[in-house]
Amino acid sequence: MDFTDPPEVGQLRERVRGFLGERWPRHYRRYAMNDTVSRDLQAPEVTLEGVDRAEIQGFIRDLGAAGLLGYGIPVSAGGRGGGPLERYAVESELAAAGAPYPSIALGTVAPTLVWLDVPELQRRFIPEIVNDGVEFALGYTEPNAGSDLGALRTRAELAGDRYVIDGQKVFSSAIHYAKYYWLAARTNPVAPTRSAISLFILPSDTPGIEVTPLFTMSGIRTNIVFLDGVEVPAANLVGTQDDGWRAIGHALAHERYTAMMAAPLSAAVDACAEHLADRLDEPAVAAALVRMEADCRAARLIGQHAAWTAAQGRPITAEASAAKVLVTELRYRVSRTILDLLGADAVLAEGDAAAPAEGQFERMYRHAPITLFTAGANAIQRDLVAEAGLGLPRAR
């Protein structure tokens, strides 16, 4: 059994670390545990004290220019080549440092365009992602279609050379700053779910798209999106009409082990240990830190194993779902344990001079819940592990 990276993957990790060392300021790494910079700061209305937005945007572009985006995407499709292990290595290094990258574009859009073998769309969109770090927003969930995504009602009707889309989406978290919208809509009103849904790519500023903000416990913004007579060229249909369901499932499985990384958790545990440096001789403190560190290491191996399984070309539904459950529940446990360890000051928020780690632990706790239901609620993930991994009877 060999848990080390193959040499070329190890070298790639070193390259990413080298780039981060030069281009990613150390003081931004304190945000690693919260995705604060990697997610929020791309949105125009968010500002963080001491964080330069132009610097963040420049970093993403430089990441592309340095050739570090697009691993796992074949060169023939506009990517950098390599496979799931390379992609996992790059993204886990970026995540560990809290550095921003277009996670939806790289994790969902580009791999799906490759998997569906749609050269025209690959030519149009993958170079922008790989070279410029252009981001997409996901448009799956609706008010009455979350875990039960097949119940979505947004309609797309073909009218000549374009589709006209009407409906409502919710929790489209990145649409207020992403360039494109990756949208699922019903193209067949009577067929069963699996042959009724299609995927589209729309510029986010297409007329008829109305975005309403929805704020969350961590302060991160998500959105409600109303689509009223939105016209999209038929050429922006992804793959074949009515065949979007397979692609959604495929992309979600990959998102579950790449978007939910354990690496930022280790960063949080390290920061906590640093903060409690003068209390490390307390048995309860030491035991909690060791337990968290051990759990984080195990979670990283599980994520890496899912990437390795994907690299072997094996099905990863159960692997990815298991990794998602383990990492996200660990994230909540770690955030909660850190609050306990810090004592009364733990509840001091960003902006209070006495807040430990400038309030990042407090915010980590408020941010942790999202991962328990995003990319498929953990209850659904457990069903998938039971069905796809263990062969148990279907639960729904």
Binding site: G146, A151, F171, L214, T216, A344, L348, G351, A379
Partner: protein, 392 residues
């Protein structure tokens, strides 16, 4: 025989407070959190209902003495917390400040501060914690030096609940008289006394109530404002914690049970895969587990308050309520939030707000670690368990 039923009067009290809280507090819970807006109207309303004097003797204008005051205080705390957890913080000062001023206040203090406290015209808080010591109350550093007509106090109090809206506060300081240390003494200090300055702390939750820091720079305090005998300050307040620790637990449990009720409604009405999500055991079991635990903890809290009403010892029970109640409540609200999916995490629903608020009750009046140490001390013995970590 053992009766676990509330009296007719208590049931009526619960109903009246619930109606008020649902109509007046719940609709503005979110807004007050967002704007850090203090619910002063709720304090006046509690006074109008006779609740602010529940721990004060009849001679001093209150209604204590019927043998069920503390259970009643618990009922009000639970009901307020269901609709606005922050507003339920008033039920922490009702017993502790009411008792201290009633039993240990001078005639002048009772007249000037206890009467308006009961009538809802004055808000009096408590300042024990200092920047250098929270859980370890005995380590406080604030100094009060005796003068010819009173004391002069210098020092700082932190983590003071309702800081920015208090009219006066009871503080605890180390007293010195003729160069002799005379122990820890309690004083009432009006917030507009020269030399008093206050500032707000930015917290995760309880933002409408707020906490803060109060600095005392050589503040002159008349002798009449001493609460109790010199050197006898901690005894009263530590006994008061045996009450507030239970109230904190009931506050958190009230907020959690309300969340469970909302989750039950959601489980019945939200459909997925063609049926209510409540048809799934993955949804049923967390609801059943949290309800079972919370309901047991709730009964234990009322049992403890009934012990206090009857004048029986209850330090161990109060500390047990304190660590277990908020912990169960936070876990329940967290799961309720997750069962609501992404909606639960948004600021459109009160679940995330309750969770942020309830975490404050886990820490207040002694962290879980301190509460467990108190339980252990009561069980294993003071000769072996020392709260300061020293070996007996």
């Amino acid at each position: 025989m053992m009766s676990l039923e509330f009296s007719a009067e208590q049931r009526l009290l619960r109903q009246v407070v619930r109606e008020y809280a649902e109509a007046e507090l719940a609709p503005r819970y979110r807004e007050r959190d967002r704007n850090s807006q203090f619910p002063r109207d709720a304090w006046r309303k509690l006074a109008g209902l006779g609740i602010t004097g529940l721990a004060v003797s009849e001679e001093c204008g209150g209604s204590a003495g019927g043998g069920s005051s503390y259970v009643s205080i618990g009922i009000v705390a639970e009901e307020l917390a269901r609709c606005d957890h922050s507003a339920s913080y008033f039920m922490l000062i009702v017993p502790i400040v009411g008792e201290l001023l009633d039993r240990h206040g001078s005639e002048a203090v009772r007249k000037q501060w206890l009467a308006p406290f009961i009538s809802g015209d004055a808000l009096v808080g408590l300042g024990l914690t200092e920047p250098a010591g929270g859980s370890d109350a005995g380590s406080l550093r604030m100094r009060a030096t005796a003068t010819s007509d009173g004391y002069r106090v210098t020092g700082e109090k932190s983590g003071v609940t309702m800081t920015m809206d208090l009219d006066a506060m009871i503080i605890f300081a180390r007293t010195r008289r003729e160069d002799q240390d005379t122990g820890i003494t309690a004083f009432l200090v009006p917030m507009d006394a020269p030399g008093v300055a206050r500032g707000r702390i930015e917290d995760m939750g309880a933002r409408s109530i707020g906490r803060g820091i109060v600095a005392f720079d050589d503040v002159a305090i008349p002798a009449d404002n001493r609460i109790g005998a010199e050197g006898d300050g901690l005894r009263g307040v530590l006994k008061g914690f045996d009450c507030t620790r239970v109230i904190l637990a009931l506050m958190s449990i009230g907020a959690a049970l309300k969340s469970v009720e909302e989750t039950i409604d959601y489980a019945r009405t939200r459909t997925s895969f063609g049926r209510p999500i409540g048809a799934n055991q993955g949804v049923q079991f967390p609801i059943a587990e949290h309800y079972s635990k919370l309901d047991m903890a709730r009964l234990y809290c009322y049992h403890t308050l009934a012990l206090r009403d009857a004048g029986h010892p209850h330090t161990r029970e109060a500390a047990a309520c304190k660590w277990l109640g908020p912990e169960l409540a936070a876990a329940a609200i967290h799961d309720c939030m997750i069962l609501h999916g992404h909606y639960g995490w948004t600021t459109e629903l009160p679940l995330e707000l309750r969770l942020r608020d309830v975490i404050g009750t886990e820490i207040a009046d002694g962290t879980p670690q301190i509460a467990k140490a108190v339980v252990a001390r009561e069980l294993i013995g003071r000769d072996i368990v020392r709260l300061d970590g020293t070996v007996a």
